[in-house]
């Protein structure tokens, strides 16, 4: 209960006119930054950091915290309406969000689903953060390289659920994704790898332009063939907030995946090196293991709910190691940490003890930001879905411009545009031939984490495998891994045996 009192204390810090206004501003800016491809929370927070020097630290972090947090909402907008993920966690949202908006003609409901799930996921994450805070961060510490390797292996099996109807094609692209991700600097030895002597490849293939290309730009090429269809006639729902409401049945479908993902996402957010993107990927993959009313990938509410709830929960969860230990869980966290130092605070294990007002104020502001962002996000749905009434003919050059501008902005260089362009071409050709790119993107995110953790484990165990079995958490996870791999095999064998006994 002590934590609850502290949280109430936090609210008394936050609920001043100035702080509420600042939260509101952060929420609006976060939504915009999130919705724009290429500019993620990292750039948004980094660019706003200098503006906040004039504020007192609590106000400043409240603004940045709510910006970071609202960003997770905004990424879904462009993913659902244009099939271009506004930020990397929204890649998975596009899988079901875009079909739900266009094929099922329920854009309002798709946005509503995404906003509600974000809210629920975030709320779960924040409650866990409030009640377990430092303990949660300590749980994250238990995950060293061996534990992370085992966990990531388990996570990688979820790619199996994503590969779709043609497993060979799915696996092929997954492997290509892993190889592409291995290009660039090898952190463990500090030496370049597969850079082919090219200065740009030294830093590897940047993820954001890669996603904008494979998902967004390839979409533009695909749309060219369909651009003469009349869109207006298709849009049956009314462009109002009422017309976008979810039915009771929809809400029933939304809740279980959102709640599950809320817990999973919080946990992923706390882990070292994993962020909101990993969270949303894993939330979506987990949903594959549960029943969805409509098939995932065809515009299912469950799909949107699972990943949106997970990424917001991860964003909330990542504040636990940041506040309790001064460890940033993501690039954005690192910038926030840099900000704390600039404002004269010392982030670290003593922050909670030395600056309780600041910490609890920040946590309280997350609750406030979550609520305000939800209200704003729901309120702008009617305006947002008007985008779908714009003829495709007009959207094509506009999306092309946004793809170019967005991919340029990720690293302020034409290299990003080139990566976007070529991955767009490949994405289009692959799509034409029935390859789904989602497992490739998942592998691109997870494989480097897996590789570096695995190699770190081997270095510390001197090349021996026993490190994975010596530690209880990793031993348990390895058992889970075997169970996941063996279950289908055993099922298959049982079925074979049964059918053979029947036929005999």
């Amino acid at each position: 209960m002590e934590n609850l009192t502290m949280l109430l204390g936090g609210f008394s810090v936050v609920l001043t006119m100035q702080n509420i206004l600042v939260t509101l501003l952060g929420a609006v800016l976060g939504l915009i930054v999130g919705a724009m491809p290429g500019i993620g929370s990292l750039a948004g927070v980094a660019l706003l950091l200098p503006l906040t020097y004039k504020f007192n630290p609590t106000t400043a972090i409240i603004m940045l915290g709510s910006l970071y947090y609202a960003n997770m909402y905004g990424g879904a907008f462009s993913a659902i309406l244009l099939n271009i993920p506004g930020d990397s966690p929204a890649v998975m949202t596009a899988l079901d969000g875009y079909p739900m908006a266009t094929k099922r003609n329920r854009p309002g409901q798709a946005l509503f689903t995404s906003n509600m799930s974000s809210f629920i996921g975030g709320l779960i994450g924040m409650f866990i953060l409030t009640f377990t805070g430092p303990a949660l961060a300590n749980l994250g510490l238990k995950f060293g390289p061996a534990e992370m390797t085992a966990l990531l292996l388990v996570a990688m099996t979820s790619i199996g659920w994503l590969v779709g109807e043609n497993p060979i094609k799915g696996v092929l692209l997954t492997l290509v994704g892993i190889l592409i991700a291995s290009m660039g600097m090898d952190t463990l030895t500090g030496s370049p790898r597969f850079d082919f002597g090219n200065m740009y490849l030294l830093g590897g293939i940047p993820f954001t332009p890669f996603v904008i290309g494979t998902v967004g730009f390839s979409q533009v090429l695909k749309l060219m063939g369909e651009r003469n269809k009349k869109v207006e006639a298709n849009l049956s729902q009314k462009l109002t907030i009422r017309g976008s409401m979810l039915t009771l049945h929809d809400i029933k479908r939304l809740l279980p995946p959102a709640i599950r993902s809320g817990f999973l996402g919080t946990f992923v957010g706390v882990l070292p090196g994993a962020g909101a993107t990993t969270g949303s990927f894993m939330g979506y993959a987990m949903q594959k293991a549960f029943k969805s009313e409509e098939e995932l990938g065809s515009g299912a509410i469950e799909g949107i709910a699972a990943c949106e709830a997970a990424n917001n929960a991860a964003a909330a969860g990542s504040f636990a190691p940041l506040l309790a230990l001064g460890i940033p869980g993501s690039g954005t966290g690192a910038v926030l940490l840099g900000g704390l130092m600039m404002w004269g605070l010392n982030p670290g294990p003593l922050l909670f003890t030395n600056q309780p007002e600041f910490c609890w104020g920040l946590i309280a502001s997350l609750f406030l930001a979550n609520l305000l962002t939800l209200v704003i996000a729901l309120g702008i749905i009617p305006f947002l879905i008007k985008i779908l009434t714009v003829p495709i003919k007009i959207l094509i050059p506009c999306i092309t411009v946004i793809c170019i501008v967005g991919s340029y902005s990720t690293s302020n260089s034409m290299y990003g545009v080139l990566v976007m362009f070529f991955s767009g071409l490949f994405g289009y050709i692959l799509d034409k031939n029935g390859y789904s790119t989602a497992p490739m993107l998942l592998a691109f995110v997870l494989a480097p984490l897996l590789e570096s953790n695995m190699r770190k484990s081997f270095i510390s165990s001197h090349g021996s495998l026993d490190i994975f079995f010596r530690k209880p958490i990793s031993a348990f996870l390895i058992l889970v891994l075997f169970a996941i791999i063996l279950t289908p095999v055993i099922k298959f064998v049982i079925r074979k045996v049964r059918s053979s006994t029947k036929s005999v």
Binding site: A46, L202, G203, G348, P349, L350, S460, H462
Partner: protein
Amino acid sequence: MKKFAIVLAFAVLLAFPVFAAAQAEVAGPASFVPTKNIEWYVTSSPGGGSDIFTRNLMDIMVSDKLVNDQNIVIQYKTDGAGEVGRLLVSNIKAGSQADHTLLTFNSGDLMPMAKNTNNRFENFQPIAHLAVDKHLIFVGEGSAYKNFEEVIAALKAGKNITLAGSKGDDIACHAALIKELGVSEDQFAYIAHDASSGAITAILGNHYDLLICKPAAASQYVEAGKIKPILALSTSRFPGNLSSAPTLKELGYKNVEVPNWRSVVGPKSMSAEAVAYWSDVFKQVSTTDAWTKGYIEKQKLVPEFMDHNVFKAYGTQFQAEYLASIGKDK
């Protein structure tokens, strides 16, 4: 098409006199003051050590009106692990732009650059060397070792030790340390992380034996009793809460240090007047309270100002020694 060609031709024609004028302007007057936006390149991500260093300098330069009321625009160029941004700055041609371009440059940037590319320190114009960061070795709460003597004893007994740290200068420190201790890399293994925070996380979770990092990153954890300094990789002990760690000399070895210096450079083509101007600006910044108290003391750095001439000699020698140490000298 034809029209476009004509417009293009005109533009080129128009550009020439301006171009020439810009050249003349640089060569003519003896003193230089900034007359337009200053572009300041940073080749690591926002929020990191280089970014904080740059922003502190920038804030003081703007608030103390040292830049003729011009704006400073920070450009993050992180492509190719920063090499692209460094190459870009080193290639800027002489002219007004060259005089308005700065680059934050650390030994942590120099080492991978010299190791992995053909770009060299000589391709830049050194401006000012401002501060030095040195390293310490720490143990976590649950570590099997209490001090560095125990570590040395364990190594002599043939035990394997793992050391976690960041990239660049941390790796160079480890290499120098094992050379001095006379142990192999296999026995005293180094595990590189993307940033010091990753290594600290691993040590707090007790996943490795030792941690190497710079004082600023570790200080808070030392204060909280989460980690303990056991060795100073410097020629003297550190001040404050880090003073309990002895130097290697006290343990009967030669001191080992690989300083991570923080500096500012410009394009090679920067005019002599501009170099003198900037070098002087940074000298002024380095004497302000905002710098010594607000940055150096807080980040636990060693202040060490060198003007462009001294820094040029120092940096060139540093690079030569580094290249020799990795066997890349011709």
